[in-house]
């Protein structure tokens, strides 16, 4: 009987899985190189500029449309690194906020009144204040309070850089919403499930991890997707504390080269593509998790 619960994979879906894996690896590569300085130079000079450069240059000569990053190696590299940074920031924040969401939902179920009150305060505070002000608060107000660390060159620098603060504040912001989402999913799990698991001798933690959470996850994936899409879009706020992500870099390029419209449209396309990939992945996850007879 247990085999009926697992959804059989069709052979046509295998290609999609491979595509998704390849896409994820590519994204991680970009993010990694953005953060650790491995420049995706060969991507620009080796692939993009030879392929699209002449056409972009001809376009600029005939009309006034200046898609500079298709024929200038420097701008191409800059933009790719910015996009990589956005992808990496999104990835870190998505993972961290989901972890915060699960932990928070668990804390809200706990018996300790103090823990529940604390979680509730955290949720209400982060849900009802602007994420930008939170980010400023973290970066300008909390950062100076932390001890400074010495670099290898003997220069004191703040303990966390702008990227880390952006990741922290965005994760807490989205995590507060995720806690509520997971909680609503947990509440949707029938009480009899927990009781049945308890009567089979599961401990509290086991019930949560093996029974409640897997069922709750299926209920809350749609709203989780919604929130994660929102989070990916909110990573643009890191612009305000000068993390070199896509918007920041695009802003630099259009300030230098005065091609606002082209860069703006590129940004739109980039973000819509990023969100589309996320939604597609979440959609596939939702389908693969579906249990026959549960939900629709």
């Amino acid at each position: 009987m247990a085999t009926t619960l697992s959804v059989e994979k069709k052979s046509g879906q295998r290609l999609q899985v491979w595509l998704a894996a390849a896409g994820a690896l590519l994204l991680l590569y970009f993010g990694w190189s953005a953060l650790f300085g491995l420049e995706p130079v060969n991507f620009c000079t080796g692939l993009i500029i030879p392929a699209l450069g002449p056409a972009a240059k001809a376009l600029y000569d005939t009309s006034n449309v200046n898609i500079i990053y298709l024929y200038e190696p420097f701008e191409c590299q800059r933009l790719l690194r910015g996009m990589g940074m956005t992808i990496y920031l999104s990835f870190v924040c998505v993972v961290a906020s989901v972890v915060i969401g699960v932990l928070g939902a668990w804390a809200q179920m706990s018996k300790s009144k103090l823990l529940r009150g604390f979680t509730q305060s955290y949720i209400q505070f982060f849900r009802n204040t602007p994420p930008l002000v939170q980010m400023y608060f973290f970066f300008f107000a909390l950062s100076p309070l932390l001890p400074r660390v010495m670099t290898d060159y003997g220069i004191a620098r703040p303990m966390f850089d702008a990227f880390t603060w952006a990741a922290i504040s965005l994760s807490f912001f989205a995590g507060a919403f995720n806690v509520e989402i997971f909680r609503s999913g947990i509440e949707a799990v029938p009480r009899t499930m927990t009781e049945a698991a308890e009567s089979l001798g599961f401990t509290r933690a086991q019930v949560f991890r093996r029974v409640v959470l897997p069922l709750a996850l299926r209920v809350c994936i749609p709203s989780l997707t919604n929130n994660l899409v929102n989070l990916v879009k909110t990573t643009t706020l890191a612009f305000a504390i000068s993390v070199p992500e896509a918007l920041f870099v695009a802003n630099q390029i259009w300030s230098d080269r005065v091609n606002v419209l082209e860069m703006m449209l590129t940004l739109f396309a980039f973000y819509i593509g990023l969100v589309a990939v996320l939604v597609w992945m979440m959609d596939r996850w939702e389908k693969s998790l579906r249990i026959p007879g549960y939900g629709r």
Partner: protein, 320 residues
């Protein structure tokens, strides 16, 4: 033979026990409402809902307590440190700056008042255009439906900040029409920039509400010889208003928080002025209280709205 289960037996209601007044009413120090003060019709929530909104959760009080203790610690720090003697204390400084951050420079609209003004204007523009767009999304004609869907998805899935830059940088700063020159200051442009995503989201809310009305309503209206337009105006839309109110208010709260984004594009809202005030004083111990105060302004404005939304959601929940 009886089988003992672990299922909880339902509690017996105690009919004779006097009903204590709700804790939130006690907290607010108000007399309990007379029975039947609200009829439950659409649109008649009263002051009591707003009071409940703020006081019914202990968390609001906990947060206020945390912030107050933070301010007091800062104050103590400022008083105890030797260089703090010739300077005004933290609370005094905050009170000095509060009018500027709330209302902006004298003679112009700015500060938190500007945030509120922008949020009102954006919501007005976004609701009118969004409802029209949402209706366009469910029309029969594909020529209207597909562009409406595309516009909605485009503005719903783009980052707000990018849209804001889009309008700020690409809109003209004035328009000449019929011999008049209409100026477009930055904050008007920012308002339009914020209205775009709100429009798209309200469009989705409208579409969802229209599609959540049972088909039976359409069919019975048709059998009563209503035209499609009449059905829509007289039967479907009034039911939608009720369903749309909670998500609409939710979006208002989100928007109010998003108005702080206009500080990035150079509008002197509460955020900009806070930053200026902190820079002007140049005291590092002011950072946390000042930004904390700003957070509190937003929290005090948004939290009651969020609570009220929950109350309305519960009241208008579709019972299936």
């Amino acid at each position: 033979m009886t089988i003992k289960t672990h299922a909880r037996t339902p509690k017996k209601p105690k009919a004779d026990a006097p009903k204590p007044p709700p804790r939130d009413v006690v907290l607010a120090g108000l007399p309990p409402l007379p029975q039947g003060a609200r009829s439950g019709r659409w649109g008649d929530w009263g002051a009591d809902d707003f009071v409940r909104g703020f006081f019914s959760r202990r968390s609001a009080l906990v947060i206020c307590a945390i912030v107050a203790s933070g301010i007091l610690c800062g104050e103590a720090y400022a008083q105890l440190s030797p260089r703090g003697q010739e300077r005004p204390g933290i609370i005094e400084t905050m009170l000095n700056w509060a009018p500027l951050i709330l209302f902006g420079r004298p003679g112009e609209i700015g500060g938190f008042a500007l945030n509120i003004l922008v949020s009102f204007m954006v919501m007005a523009i976004g609701t009118v255009t969004g409802v029209l767009l949402g209706i366009a999304q469910v029309t029969k004609s594909a020529l209207v439906r597909i562009p409406a869907w595309a516009i909605t998805q485009f503005f719903r899935n783009s980052p707000w900040l990018v849209l804001l830059f889009f309008t700020i940088l690409l809109m003209p700063f004035q328009i000449r029409a019929f011999g008049y020159t209409i100026p477009f200051p930055d904050w008007i442009k920012a308002t339009i920039g914020l209205a775009l995503p709100i429009m798209a989201n309200i469009s989705e809310v409208t579409r969802g509400a229209i599609q959540s009305i049972p088909t039976g309503q359409w069919e019975s209206a048709e059998s009563l010889a209503f035209s499609r337009a009449q059905t829509f105006r007289l039967i479907i839309l009034p039911q939608c208003v009720k369903r749309m109110t909670p998500p609409w208010m939710n979006w208002y709260a989100i928007l109010t928080m998003a108005t702080s984004l206009v500080s990035i594009v150079g509008v002197s809202d509460a955020m900009t002025l806070t930053k200026l005030a902190v820079d002007a004083d140049g005291r590092s111990e002011l950072l946390i209280p000042m930004y904390g105060m700003l957070l509190m302004f937003f929290f005090i404005y948004c939290y009651p709205i969020a609570r009220l939304t929950q109350v309305l959601e519960r009241r208008y929940a579709v019972v299936t």
